[in-house]
């Protein structure tokens, strides 16, 4: 059964906005160390909001690229383990254009969730 609004994303944004705009300034006055911790918490809530919205499609794209690259199916973790093993064994390196395109795309999707301002 679908939940009523707010959606997951809307509720997380509402919580983060409250914590940032109202709770953080009060905490800064009471104990700056806790104010800093609250900023870390607010930042993590923003990550979760983006992950809920963007994560499933990003995981599906990563999975499809890995299947195409490695030529076999598996869970995301199994496929990444197989790729990591090939790199460590020297079977693939940065001259492998198909792998580099996959790693660029995967990293772009990850940073769009973890920290979209990073450059």
């Amino acid at each position: 059964m679908a939940q009523d609004r707010p959606t997951e994303s809307e509720l997380l944004i509402a919580i983060a906005d409250f914590l940032r705009e109202e709770a953080t300034p009060a905490l800064d006055r009471a104990d700056p160390r806790l104010g800093f911790q609250m900023r870390v918490a607010v930042n993590s809530l923003a990550i979760l909001e983006r992950e809920g919205r963007l994560g499933p499609a990003a995981d599906a794209r990563e999975q499809a690229r890995l299947v195409a690259l490695l030529g076999h199916d598996g869970t995301l973790e199994d496929l990444n383990r197989a790729l990591a093993r090939q790199i460590r064994a020297g079977q693939r390196d940065e001259r492998d254009a198909a792998m580099m395109a996959h790693l660029d795309a995967t990293t772009a999707d990850k940073i769009a969730i973890a920290n979209p301002k990073w450059r």
Partner: protein, 170 residues
């Protein structure tokens, strides 16, 4: 390098970008120095004090060791220590070339750009694995800390940086 591989294996989750960077580093390992020199070990923006006259103090010496001084110059250029000033690779305040020239003027040996680049790649993958380790400390129960947990999600910043750095190095 062996320590970084061990940490990665200990953490358990496969990390293709870190594997790629470690293999890249392994194939290009610089020749060891005839005479190892004092390395600070955590020489970055945040660990020195400056006033109008220049550097007034260097802090946090607990990682000091004998080794390749390029380790310090590379670590200072890791993007995570630029604090947003990404176009100023040297600690967020200058170019790599300015840093190397100042190092040579101050009495350090000649800087080989390839060697400095190797240490910047090393520093970047090292910081990435430290991020994962910080989260692991929370996840394993040895330190209960939201802050440690959240640092795990910073590891991908170094993946972005590594893919850029490996391209520059080819």
């Amino acid at each position: 390098m062996a320590i970084l591989y061990r940490s990665l294996d200990h953490l358990g989750a496969p990390q293709p970008v870190f594997e790629l960077a470690l293999a890249w580093l392994d194939r290009r390992k610089p020749a060891p120095l005839h005479r190892p020199l004092l390395v600070h070990g955590d020489y970055r923006t945040g660990n020195y004090l400056v006033d109008e006259d220049g550097v007034s103090a260097i802090l946090d010496w607990e990682l000091a060791h004998l080794g390749d001084p390029m380790e310090d110059l590379g670590w200072l250029c890791v993007k995570s220590w630029r604090f947003g000033a990404v176009d100023k690779p040297a600690g967020g305040f200058g170019s790599r070339e300015e840093l190397w020239a100042a190092y040579e003027r101050a009495g350090g040996g000649r800087v080989d750009p390839a060697r400095a680049h190797w240490w910047e790649v090393f520093g970047t993958v090292h910081w990435g694995i430290i991020c994962l380790n910080q989260a692991f400390k929370h996840l394993s129960g040895s330190i209960k800390s939201m802050e440690h947990a959240s640092i795990g999600r910073r590891a991908v910043e170094t993946e972005v940086d590594l893919l850029q750095l490996l391209r520059e190095g080819n």
